[in-house]
Amino acid sequence: MFIKRLRLVNFKNYRKIDITFKSNVVSLIGRNGMGKTNLLDAIYYLSFTKSAINSSDQQNINHGEDFFSIIGTLNKESKNYKVQCSYQNGLKKVFHVDDCPYEKLSDHIGEFPAVLISPNDTDLVREWSDLRRKFFDTLLCQIDKEYFQCLVKYNHYLKQRNSLLKLFAERKNQDRELIEKYDLELVISGSVIWEKRRDYLAAYLPYFESYYRKLAGKEVAQIAYQSDYAKGDFYENFKKHYARDLATQRTGFGIHRDDFEFLLAGKPLKKIGSQGQQKSFVIALRLGQYAMICNEKKFKPILLLDDIFDKLDDERIKSLSKILNEDSLGQIFITDARMERTQELVKEIEAEVEIFEVVKDGVHKIS
């Protein structure tokens, strides 16, 4: 996939810009706070229908305005598409491809895939399991529509079940027949999700492991999938938890409690990994995501690298440039605050590189 042109109106710090990209490697440099990450976020919007940073569409409107729009000319498998995302205060966000609106925004997911590697990714290591689940959900939703549908269903019924438990507590009554329906639905969609997480993880691991090796040498990185569903007898287990669920007013069994444990040499990465090791781990996670999407879709997603060189030693930066060179990646956007470091890297990269400077409210091509 390739972005040929990007137009932004009132998106974050940008009032109006129109940029044309010609190369496979696009480097964006500029001082802190000039809008490099925002530019990547605009591309992210075109792929995921939302921001990677700020989930409120409204806050992504340039301060003082009342709408934004992002228009990209994308080339996929030698066909051009005009992809447009517009949001106006108080209205529903709309997405158009070649001027046709989607009936549901979710129909867009996976159509124009992108992978973002961002400085926040190390949260995946440190924070709670929901971020790790979200990482795999985002990957699987892009490549498997059934997974996406099951996940939507599961989350919806889970919310209903938890609300029902609260309603029981409030009204001091209960209704086994109703809760049973929710259990049944959670078992049905939950077991699909569980199987797919297990199977896709097995297919994903070789990509991930190979990237980690390329970045960090011989250390062994692993991911272990943990799920209540591994216990089997889903339906029985829901019933078994019923009494406790009534007391806690939430559902204590199910795939919403799954975790993906990150391990380095068999030990928890969170505890023993250095910052650099953690960073390598999450970069490998993302590159693995990239490779998996390539394999499923048979074309290359856009790769967005935000401040990727931060916290990596020279050795690892070299390994990374080697990956960028060798693995015939598609179009890549790289942001960096330091001109010299970018120029160093550009020397190493064999593909054609365009450099843009991001200054206050504007983006200029410098080479």
């Binding site: 919806h156 209903q160 309603l167 009554n173 209704d175 109703l178 929710y182 049944l184």
Partner: protein, 203 residues
């Protein structure tokens, strides 16, 4: 928007609470009413007030009615062995308009959705089960929206009706895709009632 008078502002704010009416339309309607003879506005407010105070619901099916038992429930020409369960009153009107259904109705008054604070006891369910236990009733048709909540409600009612030995069926789906019965066109809605299928739940 700035209004020249607080009275207008209040009236606009009330009228714009109606579905599909924005502030602009509300203002237009309010100014229109002001231009009419006073009797027009008092007739309007009187009829609304009366509607609110005197409206009654059929004690059997909860359809709107001027009497204790609605016209449909009271009619000799209706087949009393079939009950069609719907979410709300507009659904009754929609199905009546198809001319394809000759049984009775049961209006639930909503759909089970705990996250909106609606549990089974908030709906007219007990009366339905009671009706289902009458030997005259042979079949109950679930005509609820094709959403997860519609499905949950159908499932729940089916479970509750099970001991009473009535056939439970569901209208052909795929008709009101994600939408409500009210918006399905008459021909497809009529057909979906005629070609309903048995509703099965696992034990």
């Amino acid at each position: 928007m700035q209004y020249p008078s607080k009275l207008i502002e209040d009236a606009v704010s009330e009228v714009s609470k109606l579905p599909g009416i924005g502030k602009k339309t509300a203002l237009r309607l309010v100014l229109h009413l002001l231009k009419q003879e006073e009797i027009v506005t008092s007739a309007l407010s009187k009829s609304l007030q009366q509607l609110r105070q005197e409206i009654r619901y059929c004690a059997t099916c909860f359809n709107i009615s001027d009497t204790d038992t609605c016209n449909i429930c009271a009619s000799h020409r209706r087949d009393k062995s079939i009950i069609c369960v719907v979410e709300d009153i507009p659904d009754v009107l929609a199905i009546e308009n198809t001319g394809q259904f000759n049984g009775l109705y049961h209006v639930l008054g909503g759909i089970i959705s705990p996250m909106n604070g609606i549990g089974p006891e908030d709906l007219n369910i007990d009366r339905l089960i009671q009706r289902g236990s009458d030997d005259v009733v042979k079949e109950v048709i679930m005509a609820l929206s094709a959403t997860m909540e519609g499905d949950t409600t159908s499932f729940y009612l089916t479970k509750r009706l099970k001991p009473h030995n009535v056939r439970v069926s569901v209208i052909a789906r795929g008709v009101p895709v994600g939408g409500e019965l009210e918006y399905a066109d008459e021909i497809t809605l009529g057909r979906s009632i005629v070609t309903r299928s048995p509703y099965n739940i696992a034990d």
